[in-house]
Amino acid sequence: MEGAGKFRASNYIPNRKDEPMKTTTLPAEPVIAAGRSDPVPGKKKRGLAGRLKKDRWLYVLLLPGLLYFLVFKYLPMWGVLISFQNYQPFTGFWNSEWVGFEHFRTFFSNPDFGRLLRNTFILAVYDLVFFFPAPIIIALLLNEIRVGIFKRVVQTMVYVPHFISMVIVASMTYVFLTTQGGVIYELVVQLTGAKINFLSDPDWFRPLIILQIMWKETGWGTIIFLAALASVDMEQYEAAVVDGANRFQRLWHITLPAISGVIVILLILRLGNFLDNGFEQIFLMTNSLNRTVADVFDTYVYFVGITQGAFSYSTAIGLFKSVVGIILIFGSNWLAKRFGKEGLY
C-alpha cells in the first residue's frame, strides 16, 4: 500500500492552497497509486520544527490518547513502587518509608499465598479441562448440521448469554439456587432429598464457576472454530466420499486437522493467561463461607487493598501476579511461534 506508486501525484501537483486546482479532473491512476507517506508535496526534507508544524493536527489528534496511556496506564505502572514502601495516603508517595522486599517476604511466608496459588491453579485447570474443549465440540456438532435454518436458530440462541453481564449471570444463579425457594434447590430436594446449599458450600464453588462460564461463553466460543471450519475445501470431503470414507473418518482426517492450528493457538494463548481467572465472576460468587476455595490473587488484592486499606502489601501481591503473568505470556507466545503460527505480539 504505502508509497507503492511509481510516481506520485504529489510530485507534480502544486501545493499552495490558494492556487486553483481541479481535483475532479485528476487522472485516477496516479491518485490511487500515490503513497500516503508523503502526502504534502514540496520540499522533500523538512526540519523537525517544519515537520511538527506541517503535521500539527496529527499531534493534536494524538494528544488525548497519549495522555490517557500516560496517566491511566503508565502512572500506575510507576505506582507499583509503593509495594516497596509503607505507603500511607496521608504521607503520600514522596514521604513514605521505603522497606525493600519486606511485603513480598511477608506474602510468601503467609499461608494465604499457598492457598491463593492452589485456588488459582485448580480453577485454571478446571477451566482448561471442562470449558476449553466445549466450544470445539459444539462447533464440530454444528458443522454436521445440514439444515441451515436449524443451525442459524441454534447459533442465535446460544450466543445470547455472551452479552449478559456477569452480575446478571450471578444474580440468576442466586435466584435459582437459594435455599429460600430457588427452583433448582427445590428440585434437588424433591429428587434426592438432599438439602444442598450450593451458594455457600465450598465444594460447590468451583463447579458453579465452571458451569456459569460454560453456560455463558461456550456458544460464543464456537464462532472462531466455525470460521475455521467454513474455510475447509468442500472438494476434500467429496474426494473422501468417493474414496469411501464415512462421516467419522472424514471428521477425523479432514475436519479436525483443518482446525487443529486454531485449537493449538487458542490453547497456548489460554496458557499465557493462566493466572487470569475471571475476576468479576469470582468476586461476585465469593461469600464469607466459601472464601477458603474462592480467593484468587485478584480478589485477594481487592479485599486486602480496598476493604482493609493495606495498599502497599496488596500492590506487592498484584505486582507478583503481573510479573508471573508477563513471563507466561512471553513463554506462550514463544511457543506459538515455534508452532509456526504468527504470535500475538
Binding site: K54, V71, P76, M77, H162, S165, V167, I168, I224, E342
Partner: protein, 294 residues
C-alpha cells in the same frame, strides 16, 4: 457431505445431534424465560409449583413495587448516561489516536505503538490505578467510571490497522483540496469506517452497560450507582429497600421476594436483549477481526 450413503449409525448420529443441539439451545434460553415468567407470578404460584414457564395468574405487583421508588429509575438513568457518554468518550479517544498512529509521518510512532502494546502485557494493577484515580480527585464522579477505560489497546490497534488499509488516494485528493489532517479524518476516514465504528461502538457500549466493578470501586455514593451495582445489592446481597408501595396502607401485601428479584433481573437484561440482533451481527464480525489476523 453426501447423505444417500449414510449408514444406519450415521443416521442415528444425525438424529442424536439434532436433539442434543436443540436441548443445548433450550438450556441457554430457559433461565431467561423462567426469570421472566417468575417476575409476573404470584406468591401462591411460586411456592406451589416448582417450575413453570407460563404463569397461571399474571401479577404486575413485582414491577409496581420496584418502580414505586426512584431507585431503579435512577439506576437505569445512570446506566444509560454512562453508556452514552462513555461510548462517545471511547470512540473520540480511540479513533483520534488510531488515526494519528496510522500515519507514517508521525514522529515517534513506533515508540508510541510499543507503549500501547506493552500496556496490554503489563499493568500497574488494581491498587495503583485506584490511587491514581483517587489522587486525581475523580472518586465519586462518573469520570472515574469512564476515563480509566477510555481506550482499549486491543481495539485501538485493530482500528489503526483498518485505517492504514484504507485507499490512500482518497485522503490524498482531500489533502490536495486543502483539507487539514483533522478534515481528512472527519470527512474521508470516518465516513469510510462507519461499519467498523459501529462494531467497536457496540463493543464499548455493551461493556459500559454491563460494567459493574469500576462503579463499585470508585463510587461510594449509593445514589450514583448504575443498574448493575444495584442488581447485586438487591438480588445477591438482599440489601437495599427499593420500593415503598403502600407503606402507609395496612392492607398492602408486599410482593414475593423472589419475583421482585426476578423483575429486577428482567429490567437489567431487557435492554441487551432488545439490541441483540445488532450485537450478534456486529460482534461476530468484530471478534473475527480481532482474533484472526490477516
Amino acid at each position: 457431505m453426501g447423505s444417500k450413503h449414510d449408514s444406519l449409525g450415521e443416521k442415528l448420529f444425525d438424529g442424536m445431534n439434532y436433539l442434543f443441539l436443540a436441548a443445548l439451545a433450550l438450556i441457554t434460553v430457559l433461565p431467561f424465560i423462567y426469570i421472566i415468567a417468575g417476575s409476573f407470578a404470584t406468591e401462591a404460584e411460586l411456592s406451589e409449583r416448582s417450575f413453570f414457564l407460563i404463569p397461571r395468574d399474571y401479577s404486575l405487583s413485582a414491577y409496581h413495587y420496584i418502580f414505586s421508588s426512584e431507585t431503579i429509575f435512577r439506576g437505569m438513568g445512570v446506566s444509560i448516561f454512562i453508556t452514552a457518554v462513555g461510548t462517545l468518550v471511547n470512540l473520540a479517544f480511540t479513533l483520534t489516536m488510531a488515526y494519528s498512529l496510522s500515519r507514517r509521518e508521525l514522529l515517534g510512532r513506533r515508540l508510541i505503538m510499543n507503549l500501547v502494546i506493552f500496556s496490554m502485557l503489563f499493568s500497574g494493577g488494581m491498587i495503583p490505578t485506584y490511587l491514581v484515580v483517587k489522587e486525581l480527585g475523580l472518586l465519586d464522579s462518573y469520570a472515574a467510571v469512564i476515563l480509566p477505560g477510555a481506550i482499549s489497546a486491543f481495539n485501538l490497534i485493530i482500528i489503526r490497522n483498518f485505517f492504514q488499509e484504507l485507499p490512500a488516494g482518497l485522503e490524498e485528493s482531500a489533502r490536495i483540496d486543502g483539507c487539514t489532517d483533522l478534515g481528512v479524518l472527519w470527512r474521508i476516514v470516518l465516513p469510510l469506517s462507519k461499519p467498523i465504528i459501529a462494531t467497536f461502538g457496540l463493543f464499548y457500549a455493551v461493556g459500559h452497560w454491563n460494567n459493574f466493578f469500576s462503579a463499585l470501586l470508585y463510587l461510594n455514593d449509593h445514589t450514583m450507582w448504575p443498574l448493575q451495582v444495584l442488581l447485586r445489592e438487591i438480588v445477591m446481597l438482599s440489601q437495599m429497600a427499593i420500593g415503598d408501595v403502600g407503606s402507609m396502607d395496612p392492607n398492602y401485601v408486599k410482593p414475593p421476594e423472589q419475583s421482585v428479584k426476578m423483575a429486577v433481573i428482567v429490567v437489567g437484561t431487557i435492554p441487551i436483549l432488545l439490541v441483540y440482533p445488532f450485537l450478534q451481527k456486529h460482534f461476530a464480525k468484530g471478534m473475527l477481526l480481532g482474533s484472526i489476523k490477516g
